[in-house]
Amino acid sequence: MNGQSSLSTPVSNIWTIAKRELGGYFTSPVAYVFIVIFLLLTGLFTFMIGRLLDRGEASLFWFFYWHPWLYLVLVPAIGMGVWAEERRLGTIELLLTMPITTWQAIVGKFLAAWIFLGVALFLTFPVVITVNYLGNPDNGVIFCAYVGSFLLGGGYLAISTMTSAMTRNQVVSFILSVVICLFLILAGFPPVTDLIQNYVPQIIVDIVASFSVVPHFDGFKRGLIDLRDVIFFFSIIVFGLFTTSIIIRNLRAGH
């Protein structure tokens, strides 16, 4: 209209939205607080509880071992506002009446949060330098574990954006997503599986455990990128985002 050329493509729309979200993360002090807490906690778990320096092993196994637990609290903190804040401010009405699809908005927002998490994860590189300085670790294994950790975070994040769309209250969103993510850990956490093994047949334990992120993350930690594990994490992401789209559709329809 009026001679304006429309240069929008799905990718450019997603990128425009992701850019705005990322801008939002990095202009708010919360982002920096988050990154500092993330780095402090990874350090704490790795060096104090994981006792990296006393083990005399040149590996980051114990660094990554705690990631499912660390993300349990930190990832919902990133994801809780993604849609809840749009709903609270009413900007969701603005966003979804733009000439974009709901999917583009969902993917753009998710990608921004995932990239932010990626940046936080990248900033743990001093620990890689440390083990390389102290010993001779297998950097291939470390790389695999980083990939796995990033996928794990993406899975949690998709769950968090889903719970974020359910409410306009960030706290509610946070709690819901912690509960769901906790289930995803506990279902395959050895102390828990060992416990329920006593009561139910092995096959059921295996089925429940197969929903868990822990066994799927294990391979990455040991340096194996198994396609099935990759598919598992992407399934969680697709499930989370798909459910988000249904929630938003129902929200708009007023059900």
């Binding site: 209209m1 009026n2 304006q4 929008s8 401010l89 900007t91 009405e93 009446t97």
Partner: protein, 323 residues
């Protein structure tokens, strides 16, 4: 440009909008009136594609909002109720973001952003973050976002809400000016706004259109429309009333005020099918004949607020008395 046909929306058992039909063409400014909760915002949200209708269709410039939402939305600029905007962004960042979503790039984007900044008087706050803005500025920022792509269709939900009288006047003037080249729908509670800016008005009550016409037509629905007000000095009001009631074209007369400060004021109601101005001429002639000292003589055009109340109130009152 905007074709709304049998539009309906149910929220559970409640029918928020119930069979609304109207068209808006380029060059028209449609005022959307109605009490709170009448379904104005819901209708606008359906027109802009935010919520899907339960029944009916909305077609924007030939594109159905359900079947071809992207093309339809490209033609619309929308100011939602309460003017939402991303609190953490600066005005400039926000407008750039919207311009990009609207498909503007490079030089065109720059131009569009600076054009709306100028049009909406945002120069002084361009680099301020939106959560630090006063309500008026925030409102105008959101208004600026709605016209950034110079859309042929504008949907404005209470565009003057929360503005001071000067800003209200500016926005009204802007709407009226833009209305010459666009199809505009705007909702409001302020009836004088309808007279000031609209070419046509719709009154909606409990989801249904109860009146549709130009502001003049609507005003004529008022029972005061066509009545003549006469104010005279030094004559008792009762005598004036009595004399006037005898006029052939007068149905009845009523005293508005007695001789307070020595002026009597009488309202004369016309008989049906009396031509415009005839009653006033007759009253004037009578006053001359009687040698009354006339201070005021005019035909009442009717008042929108009175029409609005008479259309939308009776049932609400009834409902309350039932409780």
């Amino acid at each position: 440009m905007i074709q709304v046909k049998n539009l309906a929306k149910s929220f559970g058992p409640k029918r928020a909008v119930d069979g609304v039909t109207f068209n808006v063409e380029v060059g028209e400014v449609l005022g959307f009136l109605g009490p709170n909760g009448a379904g104005k915002s819901t209708t606008m949200r359906m027109i802009t594609g935010f919520i899907p209708p339960t029944e009916g269709t909305v077609v924007i410039g030939g594109h159905d909002i359900l079947n071809n939402p992207i093309e339809a939305k490209k033609l619309i600029g929308y100011l939602p109720e309460n003017a939402p905007a991303y609190a953490d962004m600066t005005v400039y960042g926000f407008l750039n973001f919207v311009a990009e979503l609207r498909g503007l790039r490079g030089e065109a984007k720059k131009k569009a952003v600076s054009r709306v900044i100028e049009m909406c008087f945002l120069e002084t706050v361009v680099h301020q973050s939106i959560d630090t803005l006063s309500k008026g500025f925030r409102h105008r920022t959101c208004f600026a976002q709605s016209i950034i792509h110079d859309p042929p269709v504008l949907v404005l939900d209470e565009p003057t809400d929360g503005l001071d009288p000067n800003q209200k006047h500016e926005v009204r003037t802007l709407i009226k000016r833009m209305g010459e080249k666009k199809a505009i729908i705007f909702s409001t509670h302020i009836l004088e706004e309808v007279e000031a800016a609209c070419t046509r008005a719709i009154i909606i009550d409990r989801g249904k259109i109860v009146a549709n016409g130009t502001p003049e037509e609507l005003k004529r629905m008022s029972e005061l429309a066509g009545t003549v007000i006469l104010r005279v000095r030094d004559v008792p009001a009762e005598i004036v009333k009595e004399k006037i009631s005898e006029l052939p074209c007068a149905k009845r007369a009523a005293v508005i005020s007695q001789n307070d400060g020595a002026a009597a004021c009488v309202r004369v109601y016309p008989r049906p099918n009396i031509a415009d101005g005839e009653l006033a001429r007759a009253v004037g002639a009578l006053a001359t004949q009687m040698q009354w000292r006339v201070e005021e003589l005019h035909t009442d055009e009717g008042r929108l607020d009175e029409v609005f109340r008479s259309i939308t109130l009776p049932d609400t009152v009834k409902k309350e008395s039932e409780k």
